[in-house]
Symmetry: C2
Subunit: 482 residues, 2 copies
Amino acid sequence: MKPSIPKGTRDFSPLEMVRRNFIFKTIREVFEKYGYQPIETPAMENMETLTGKYGDEGDRLIFRILNSGNFLNDFRQEQALKDIANPHNINESDTFAKLDFNNSEKYLSRISEKALRYDLTVPFARYVVQHQNEITFPFKRYQIQPVWRADRPQKGRYREFYQCDADVIGSDSLLNEVELAQIINDVYSKLGISVTIKINNRKILQGIAEYVGEPNKMIDIAIAIDKLDKVGIDGVIEELSIKGFSSEKSRLITEIVFQRYAQKSAIDFFGNMPSDIKEMYKENPLILKGFEELRYIVNSINKLESFDSKIQFDLSLARGLNYYTGAIFEVKANDVQIGSVCGGGRYDDLTGIFGLPNVSGVGISFGIDRIFDVMNELKLFEKLELPVSTTKVMLAHFGEDERNYCIGVASQLRAAGINTEIYPDVTKKIAKQFDYANKKQIPFVIVVGGDEMKTGELTLKNMATGEQTKMKTEEIVKKLQP
Amino acid sequence: MKPSIPKGTRDFSPLEMVRRNFIFKTIREVFEKYGYQPIETPAMENMETLTGKYGDEGDRLIFRILNSGNFLNDFRQEQALKDIANPHNINESDTFAKLDFNNSEKYLSRISEKALRYDLTVPFARYVVQHQNEITFPFKRYQIQPVWRADRPQKGRYREFYQCDADVIGSDSLLNEVELAQIINDVYSKLGISVTIKINNRKILQGIAEYVGEPNKMIDIAIAIDKLDKVGIDGVIEELSIKGFSSEKSRLITEIVFQRYAQKSAIDFFGNMPSDIKEMYKENPLILKGFEELRYIVNSINKLESFDSKIQFDLSLARGLNYYTGAIFEVKANDVQIGSVCGGGRYDDLTGIFGLPNVSGVGISFGIDRIFDVMNELKLFEKLELPVSTTKVMLAHFGEDERNYCIGVASQLRAAGINTEIYPDVTKKIAKQFDYANKKQIPFVIVVGGDEMKTGELTLKNMATGEQTKMKTEEIVKKLQP
């Protein structure tokens, strides 16, 4: 049987690991620089923690785990007893009734009570409520762990992938939005990726819903305008009319959202906000509140000495998720055609579902896989000159005595913090040993032969330049020390 | 509904994360110092990759994942069609037949084709075979990932826990055993845990099996003597007789294993190996080979300048697993009563099950959770003076202007690599802000009030000593820089 792994999952080679770990390390260090602290939650959550949090579509994509133990036998005995109790009354409907086939969910919940984490946000909300008495609020946490989704696998979409989330909960201060924008900027400038941060505010969308006289349909508006790229303006108008908006209201909404204030440079826009907005919305405090929040965020960022990323105000930015209630973010790479590489926003009641209502929070999530693809396409790993091997030097040798002599040399190098490998097998074939070092892209090789053992002068070869020099171990340590 | 997590799983708080990450980092750095390179494999493997590799007991502890999609409906339709085809012939046996209830495994395999990783060794063997054409052998890999087992949860045993494995495959050199012993020694001395490394060799156990005339019963012997701690010598003798050993042979085996050469200091033992062994085993080359291998390993370690751990030769060390064929290791903490904190050994044909026969390998596995418990019990985290917070300094303020002034100060500190947090909410209550910093055990607090903004002289408070000093931001940077 040829071994394989489930579709939509991946193995990561040493080279891929070096590059992915560089991205993880960068994100982790920036999170910590802003005072976010790490937590981890289990891969498995109870079904009731997850179901109903992601919409019907999401629920179908949750990977369920079978109860352990021999549940089938228990179930079977149970059925057998029923049948013995009344053996002559078996007909088709019974057959299904026994299995709860008319009620798949009930049947499923009997054989599967746990599921794999679908994202990091719901487990975080569960964590905050469960540990609320140990937590000091405002609670700034980051979490870098894999999530699992039974999505149809396709290019750039996997069934197991990592999310890197930072959230602060228990503070409604806009400073958090400002710092999250700084985190986004710092991460991408450290990675060498030029990005545009699009911002909007759900309060404005809610205000627009009220402005057009449909105060309870903000989510409908958000979901409709979120589809612009796929269906175009006419499609959005159609979508809105399906949701019961009059053609007049639909046109007004799209006119405001896509023409009047779409995709302005936020700096210019909020630097001197058009007076007609105040005019237009003076009857509508919620819209103004939304604009004022964005203005504070953008002006604060504008005051920062170093902030490379472009900030773009985009009234047509909606985000799919239902729970956002304030500022929302979406980040696009400027030089690569790919979906958003980071997103987030403020939510006012995420923990309410678990029994801790009215706690405001805001967070962002980085998608490591897209970042990896972007860096590959832009050849950034090469530009950053990341080491491709975690090993700095390999010791090659001409025989058993030489190989054993290497043990002492390696100990000295390792004691000095130099990652060192001894070619393990005893072989006269020095070419084979060099070939091994080459294939593994180990940058330096030390050759130990009879003379070297006598004199203690070892041959150090730089595998990139081919340059060879004779040195004592102490000199090699000095040269290779990190 | 009060939120909870599945039994046997855990959340990790920021403090626990700081401590666990320290252990992970230590192990990772030592692995890399010896030329081991990281890989990762998916949490999910195909069932056929895992089943039959861990024994019946193990198979029952594998967590299976339900196929995604609406398999129940498909299944139900299938049944319905059968019933329509032949509606009057439904009786009890049919009912079960439909479900394959008489064949749970067949039924299970219809609804579940994937499972969660049970250890890192089998996925590694699968990886090596699947990627054999991209891999340069000898392949030295390490892997640090969680595994899942449907064990009965109890103190120190969890259903989700991390393993830290290092294996080299494609080399039968004993240097690998020597370096793995060095890795064990380096990891535990860096963690401050004093350990004893017990070693033995399956070749000797095989030799003993041949010596007593039961050449095919080495595993029976290994499993029997592995139970000494639980059942005592008489129990082992009984165990052996159950396996069909004569009482004479059983007594001889236990006499050799537990009395004659048990638990010698390996250094003395192999320094001058008792002549009677050569006598006793001269008819048995395999035993001698086993002893010679151990002698090379121990003597090589003996030559090392720095090796703190005690090496103990223990002929009664057997290890549970079937696949070991050479040297075996088990590590015990000297100052804490707890099971083994690391184990491993050489296997000659692990990849054979996946179609790549006769490739010898050797590896070890660290159990992070027991290491964590040992370090807790010995108060090592305190002794190591690990920071309990990832944040170095918090900025406190007396109002909105001061809070906004902090943004610029924080940027300077962060640019210098200092993890800095601004208390996000605007509040006059300075005590509340200090309380927050205290609870999070942030070591320094900077206070910004009106005067500080005018003069640029900020108040820096050392939260441990209570000492307060006025400084310019540049001086604070110098003082707090890592």
